[in-house]
């Protein structure tokens, strides 16, 4: 099993999905536990892989190679390194917690959990595939269950949101497919193998074209302004656990793509595109912040805050230096945990009050003290309070971007102020002030919900206090990547 640990991580959820399919649909308890245990096993496997992972080694590890379509030189090629492994860990944790959070879903549970587990397979595969073709297939695999999960279990405008999400991302991945084919045909011999493709020289013009194609695919997923409008709709309509997955993992697939494919494959184009990337990053940060400030829907506010926070990832990416990269990678991880937690908390409130209108709440801090504590914690983490993980990542991203451009950094700090403004304004509208008598009967957060949040809090606090626990896994790989880009 050791030699195929990555395959096990990818396909265990699929096995779980099949198991769910063989359970009668009325045995909901059984279905839930199968799903939970499956995601638990995946987390355990990831933990086991963590012990096998060599943090000091820069290249790909635990490689699995198999022939898939020999005619086109397509391989079943898996591997991990300091960029993908933190994402795998994040996916495993978020999937497990979101699965626990899914226990509140009441209708069509069998289909829900089957699709949910399929989704996890897709996500894991996306982060672990090193063959471009395999990557594309798994990238698309994510799309399909997501479409159904939003479209069936979503809110009132779910069809619109699901179709919008699907078409947006599909349009993006179409460009990406073109890019992948371009890379494939330009390579001699034709190959999809990342380990071989990374070192090959390519013409600048070709790089620029294909970089743009990849960029569109990834930018929509991140999402980067102006491709972000699917995000608020999808988030608002999706059921809580799916929002968590969406914010926690799916958005990271875009920025992961930059790290894994765009940068090592097109180093010259990366330098060429650096200014545009930086500008898009600030626009995202500030724009997302301002729009979040204007929201009255709790979930939409968190969704736009994601746009702003993912801007910091982009900022770190645009910096093209060690600190920026570290900040971006760390921000990917921390944003997953923090925003995931915020969405869980929105869900907790929505399950009780059946509304997300921020102006309709007020004074809940009195009735729900524990909930208030959690919400305040995650809001503070999100606004980048030092000693919580969000601060470290934003600090590193800013430090990186500062070395690249001072005005960019100065402008993006507006985002930090805005984050404080919209998050604390949200806290004030929900928790503080006079208790709205309508909510006098709301029960406080329950044990299951607490269980979904506490691991995230531990991560946030742990990374915030001592970020090396995770940064040491990333640094060798990121430094190697930086060298690749700089040398070329």
């Amino acid at each position: 099993m050791t030699s195929h640990i990555l395959s096990w991580i990818i396909f265990t959820p699929l096995i779980g999905a099949f198991a769910v399919l063989f359970v009668p649909k009325n045995a909901t308890a059984c279905i839930k536990w199968i799903a939970l245990i499956t995601t638990g096993i995946v987390t355990a496997l990831t933990g086991y892989a963590l012990t096998l992972f060599q943090p000091a080694q820069a290249g790909f590890q635990m490689i699995e190679r198999g022939v898939w379509i020999p005619q086109f030189n397509v391989q079943y090629l898996l591997g991990t390194d300091g960029i993908s492994f933190p994402m795998v860990v994040l996916t495993a944790i978020i999937s497990l917690l979101a699965c626990l959070a899914s226990f509140g879903i009441k209708e069509r549970q069998k289909e829900y959990y089957a699709l949910y587990l399929l989704l996890e397979t897709g996500m894991m595969g996306t982060f672990l595939a090193l063959d471009l073709f395999l990557f594309y297939v798994l990238w698309e695999v994510v799309l399909v269950p997501m479409y159904f999960l939003i479209g069936i279990w979503g809110g009132p405008r779910r069809e619109y949101a699901a179709i919008k999400f699907f078409l947006y991302t599909l349009a993006g991945s179409l460009f990406m497919l073109l890019g992948i084919l371009g890379v494939y045909f330009a390579a001699t011999p034709h190959t999809f193998d990342m380990t071989q493709l990374a070192g090959m020289p390519r013409g600048l013009f070709f790089q620029q074209i294909v970089f743009m194609a990849f960029f569109l695919g990834f930018a929509i997923k991140v999402p980067i302004f102006p491709f972000h409008t699917w995000l608020p709709d999808a988030h608002v309509e999706a059921p809580t656990p799916i929002s968590v997955i969406l914010a926690g993992v799916l958005l990271k697939m875009g920025t992961y793509g930059f790290f894994r494919f765009s940068y090592p494959l097109f180093p010259e184009a990366t330098h060429w595109f650096q200014p545009a990337m930086a500008v898009l990053a600030i626009v995202g940060i500030i724009y997302g912040g301002f729009v979040a400030l204007a929201q009255t829907d709790f979930k939409k506010m968190v969704a736009y805050s994601s746009v702003s926070h993912m801007g910091f990832v982009l900022l770190g990416l645009a910096a093209l230096n060690a600190d920026g990269f570290r900040g971006a990678m760390l921000q990917m991880f921390t944003h997953g945990t923090i925003t995931g937690g915020l969405f869980l908390l929105v869900g907790v409130l929505y399950d009780r009050a059946h509304t997300r209108d921020l102006n309709g709440f007020g004074g809940l801090g009195v009735k729900m003290p524990a909930y208030a504590g959690f919400l305040t914690f995650f809001a503070l983490a999100s606004l980048g309070l030092p000693s919580l993980s969000g601060f470290v990542s934003e600090f590193l991203a800013l430090l990186g971007s500062y070395q690249y451009s001072k005005p960019v950094t100065a402008l993006s700090t507006i985002g930090i102020i805005l984050a404080a403004a919209y998050l604390l304004y949200m806290v004030q509208r929900v928790l503080l002030g006079k208790l709205n008598p309508k909510w006098a009967q709301l029960p406080d957060i329950n044990l299951r919900e607490v269980l979904t949040l506490v691991p995230l809090m531990v991560l946030i606090l742990g990374i915030g206090v001592y970020p090396r626990i995770i940064l040491d896994y990333m640094i060798p790989t990121l430094d190697a990547l930086l060298k690749t880009i700089k040398v070329s």
Binding site: L167, A294, Q295, Y402, A410, I416
Partner: protein
């Protein structure tokens, strides 16, 4: 002795915080004692170390926290004269205030929560004091901001408290972002965030600016000073502090008078070598400090809320300290920081005691409380005398040092303004005292009573402190304190001047006398002044309209921009997306028409033709299985015959 136990100093209150937040429901009233106990132990641990530093020792230790590029970023503690001084002050004042709070907050439903926050604050403040680099300093700084936010909004059911907490956090956050950018700039310029390393670099570069990027350093200093402006409530970001008085009074004493707001001044003191090394920055600091000192004192003249008067007084005194820093008076500023912490904490605690005893905050409803609350009144008057600068109380010595700095530097404009501010300080403090403690009771509904010993005890301790803490910096000890601080970094020192001292004493007595005349003897004078100088009165009473200005020109545009951009999102971007969708639908409808009538037409024709032919052939299909079977069989036979014939 090893100095590593210094780590325990911030850690112990943090443990109290963790215990109170997690187990507050069971701890109930014991929460306070947990906080007080940890704080006291921290004090006991800290004081010997401080003493060692006072004797000339110097401790530092660090460990790697993060890798920046290839440079390790090390976190550690640094015990030098500056941090030892603050550590001494913070642990003592903090512990006393917490003891007081145990009495003051008695019976509050969120009692344990309160002490959790206060312990967290203590932990952060102590971390800040002992930290040896900007990043750790900033982290502690931000957590203090959080505690401030949480404690201002402690009575969050009140909308005013909720708003005040938000305002406080956001306003200071603006300064903090400047601070963040500031030390990023510093890192870019120097490659280090460590205070000691910075001091060494600055000292080495002294006189030869060529080795350092002066422009970048100036920018860094300016941005770092933004942090001070936000945290120490300097003009123009001072607006949050008066509103912060919505928090419980011990919080006002601890956070918004003695410690946290002083951290901004401490930041300048920490960065003093930087500020000294770059030109053009100190005048800005002086200007900001002077404007703040004067403006806040001027506003305090007409306020009626007991805590607000004290809040503006705090702003004004912080302005004094910043001015001192700007005039290169590191010793004077730090000295005033310490003395101010004692007497201002005392004032706030006294005010808290008054509020606790009367349940009103408006001084117009008080009066004649001296007899009913003797302990409170006496200690309050001691603190006010100290603040007004009456010798030999502590405030006199420190204020005198600051005035001397201005005088010695030859900056007579600043000297004059500071002197005027001192006059106003004495006036508004004694206006407050005369209205509160003397005269007749103006509101019959107020039934005042003296506070319990748990509260008056700390009052007396602080009163003693307010009296004696000035001694180390006074001529009686040959300005020992200033010389002690000067170990760290060299700055201009001035000979004590009798003229300055005389001016200082004169304005203090003048202010007190004026207040006495106006509020005890000739009571109609106050109204007459207000009437004759309506412009000044209104400016003062309405706090120079800062809040209104910010509301109209900052908050509103920000919100409006948010809505505009959201509208852009909804209409333009989504419009484009949905338009694409709609156009595609339209195209597909055209295609649908073609499909239906042209492509399908052809297909349907084929179908019709086949149907026509089939009407003959279909007769074979009888529907009887055995017919089919027979046909199959016969065909089989036929094939057999055929096959054999061929063979």
């Amino acid at each position: 002795m090893t100095s590593d136990q210094i780590i325990l100093v911030p850690l112990l209150p943090f443990l109290a915080f963790a215990a109170n937040i997690l187990a507050g429901r069971w701890l109930k009233n014991r929460a306070a004692w947990l906080s007080v106990a940890t704080s006291s132990v921290a004090c006991v641990i800290a004081l010997p170390i401080c003493w060692a530093v006072f004797q000339g020792a110097h401790f530092a230790h660090q460990g790697t926290w993060l890798m920046l590029g290839t440079v390790p970023l090390k976190f550690g503690y640094l015990m030098d004269p500056l941090s030892a001084t603050l550590l001494f002050m913070v642990t003592i004042v903090g512990t006393l205030i917490q003891i007081y709070a145990a009495g003051y907050m008695h019976g509050d439903p969120r009692y344990s929560r309160f002490f959790a926050y206060v312990s967290l604050f203590m932990s952060a403040m102590l971390t800040l004091v002992v930290s040896d680099n900007y990043l750790l300093f900033f982290m502690a700084w931000e957590i203090m901001g959080l505690c401030s936010y949480l404690l201002i909004g402690f009575y969050f059911e009140k909308d005013s408290a909720a708003n005040a907490s938000l305002k406080a956090f956001l306003t200071t956050r603006i300064g903090d972002v400047g601070f963040l950018l500031g030390f990023l700039t510093l890192f870019a310029a120097l490659g280090t965030l460590n205070f000691s390393e910075m001091n060494t670099l600055m000292a080495g570069a002294h006189g030869s600016h060529a080795t350092l990027n002066t422009g970048l350093l100036t920018l860094a200093a300016l941005l770092i000073f933004c942090g001070t402006i936000g945290k120490s409530a300097q003009f123009p970001l001072h607006v949050w502090l008066p509103d912060a008085m919505e928090g419980p009074t011990p919080v006002s004493a601890l956070i918004h008078a003695a410690t946290m707001v002083a951290a901004g001044v401490f930041l300048v003191a920490r960065s003093f070598t930087l500020f000294m090394a770059v030109p053009n920055i100190l005048p800005i600091v002086t200007a900001i400090g002077t404007i703040t000192a004067f403006m806040a004192a001027f506003i305090a003249l007409t306020q009626n809320d007991i805590k607000r008067i004290l809040a503006y007084s705090t702003i004004s005194q912080l302005g004094y300290m910043v001015t001192a820093m700007g005039l290169s008076g590191l010793g004077a500023g730090t000295f005033h920081l310490i003395t101010h912490a004692f007497f201002k904490a005392l004032l706030f605690l006294g005010a808290g005691s008054v509020i606790h005893g009367t349940h009103v905050q408006d001084i117009r409803e008080m009066g004649g409380l001296f007899k009913k609350m003797p302990h409170t009144a006496v200690t309050f008057i001691i603190a006010s005398l100290a603040l007004s600068g009456v010798p030999p109380l502590s405030g006199f010595w420190s204020k005198d040092e600051i005035l001397l700095s201005a005088f010695g530097a030859g900056n007579f404009l600043v000297f004059g303004i500071l002197l005027l501010t001192a006059l106003m300080t004495a006036f508004y403090m004694f206006r407050l005292i005369f209205l509160t403690f003397f005269g007749a009771a103006r509101n019959a509904k107020v039934h005042a009573h003296e506070s319990p010993a748990l509260m008056t005890g700390p009052l007396w301790c602080l009163a003693v402190g307010s009296i004696v803490i000035g001694i180390p910096g006074s001529p009686f000890m040959h300005h020992w304190f200033q010389k002690f601080i000067a170990h760290m970094v060299h700055y201009p020192e001035y000979e004590p001047s009798g003229l300055v001292m005389a001016c200082s004493i004169a304005v203090a007595i003048l202010g007190i006398t004026l207040a006495g005349v106006m509020y005890l003897k000739q009571k109609h004078w106050a109204a007459a002044v207000a009437k004759n100088f309506p412009l000044f009165y209104r400016l003062s009473f309405n706090k120079f309209y800062f809040d209104e200005f910010y509301a109209a020109y900052v908050v509103k545009p920000f919100n409006a921009l948010g809505h505009v951009l959201f509208g852009f999102d909804e209409t333009v971007i989504d419009g484009a997306v949905n338009g694409t969708g709609r156009n595609t639908l339209f195209l597909s409808e055209i295609k649908n028409w073609i499909d239906q009538y042209i492509v399908d037409g052809a297909v349907n024709f084929m179908g019709t033709a086949v149907y026509f032919l089939n009407s003959f052939v279909k007769r074979i299909q009888t529907g009887f299985v055995q017919n089919y079977l027979l046909i199959v069989f016969l065909v089989l036979v036929a094939f057999l015959i055929l096959e054999l014939k061929l063979a």
